[in-house]
Subunit: 146 residues, 2 copies
DNA sequence: ATAACTATTGCAAGTAATTTGCATTAGTGT
DNA sequence: ACACTAATGCAAATTACTTGCAATAGTTAT
C-alpha cells in the first residue's frame, strides 16, 4: 500500500502540476484516506475519520474540487444525500451498486455503455458531443435483506 | 393537452388514493406545470414559473416528495446541483442527456440496461436484489458548441 | 347538504451542505 | 535563502431542504 501510494503519488504530482495545483500534506492525507477506504466517502465521513485535522472543512471542500478537476479523484452522486468522492488513479472506468438501506457501495466494472453512448449521440439532433455518463444501480444487499 | 390532462388526472387520483394522498388544487397546478414544461424542473424554476403562488415553497417540497412517492412524478439528479422533478405518467422508462454548459435536457428512450442489470446482480455476491438504476449522459449541445 | 375526520397548507424557525472574502502560511522554482 | 503564488483557516454568508404547529381545505359517511 505504501508502495502503491509512492508509485501513484509520482504521477499524481505531475497530473496536478498541469493545472498549477500543489500536492500538499493535507491533500496527501486526503488521498491516502480515500485510497484506504476503497469506497466513495462524503465530507462528513472524511472529517470523522480524521482525529487530527489534516484539513479544515472549508479547505477540504476546496481540495475535493481541485482534485476532482484533475481526475485524481472522482465525484459521484449515489442518491445518498451528499456528494461522495473516490480515489481513481488505479481504477478503470466503473459504476456503482448501492444498497438503499445501509448505503454500502460495490463497484461494477462491466460497462457496455460506451457503445450505447454512441447510439444515443447519433440519435440526437440537438447534441454535438457526449463525453461521459453516470450509471448507478440501486438495490438491497444481503445483510439488509434479512 | 387539456384532454391529456383530464384523462391522466383520473388515474392520478386513484394512484394517490392508494397512499392516502389527496389531489389538491396546488398539486394540480404543480402537475400541470411539470406536464407543460416537458422537462425536469427544480424547485427554484417551479417557484419562478408561478407568478401567483399555488404552493408555498415548503409545501412544494412536501408535495414533490409525496408525488414522487407514488410515481406520478419522478425525481432525477442530473448533476445540476439541485434535484429535478419530471411528470412521468405518460412516459415510458427513459434516461437523460444533459448539456453541461446550458443544462438543456433531452430524453433518451432506448434503454438496454435492464439486461445489464441482471448481469450486474448475478456478478455480485453481496447483493440480494437490484430494483432500479440511474443512467445519465453528459455532453455539449450544438448551440453551446459554437 | 352537513358534520366529522384527517391530509394539506403556510408561517416561523431550524438544520445541513456548500461557498466566499480575506489575511496568514506553506510549496515550488531560482 | 528569496520571491512568487497556491493553499489554508477563520468567520460569515448562501443555498437547499426540513420540522413543529396551528389554521384550512378535501373526503367520507350520514
Amino acid at each position: 500500500m505504501a508502495q502503491c501510494k509512492k508509485a501513484g503519488t509520482k504521477t499524481i504530482v505531475e497530473t496536478l502540476q498541469t493545472k498549477g495545483y500543489r500536492l500538499t500534506t493535507g491533500r496527501i492525507a486526503l488521498l491516502e484516506l480515500l485510497l484506504e477506504a476503497g469506497r466513495p466517502l462524503n465530507v462528513r465521513e472524511i472529517l470523522e475519520s480524521w482525529k487530527g485535522h489534516p484539513l479544515n472543512q472549508v479547505t477540504l471542500y476546496r481540495a475535493l474540487e481541485n482534485l476532482s478537476d484533475t481526475g485524481v479523484i472522482n465525484r459521484v452522486d449515489l442518491n445518498t444525500g451528499t456528494a461522495r468522492y473516490e480515489y481513481t488513479p488505479n481504477k478503470p472506468h466503473h459504476h456503482h451498486l448501492v444498497c438503499t438501506k445501509c448505503d454500502v457501495v460495490e463497484d461494477v466494472e462491466s460497462c457496455t455503455v460506451s457503445t450505447l453512448q454512441k447510439k444515443v449521440l447519433s440519435g440526437s439532433r440537438r447534441f454535438k458531443s457526449i463525453y461521459s455518463h453516470n450509471l448507478e444501480f440501486f438495490g438491497i444487499c444481503r445483510s439488509c435483506a434479512k
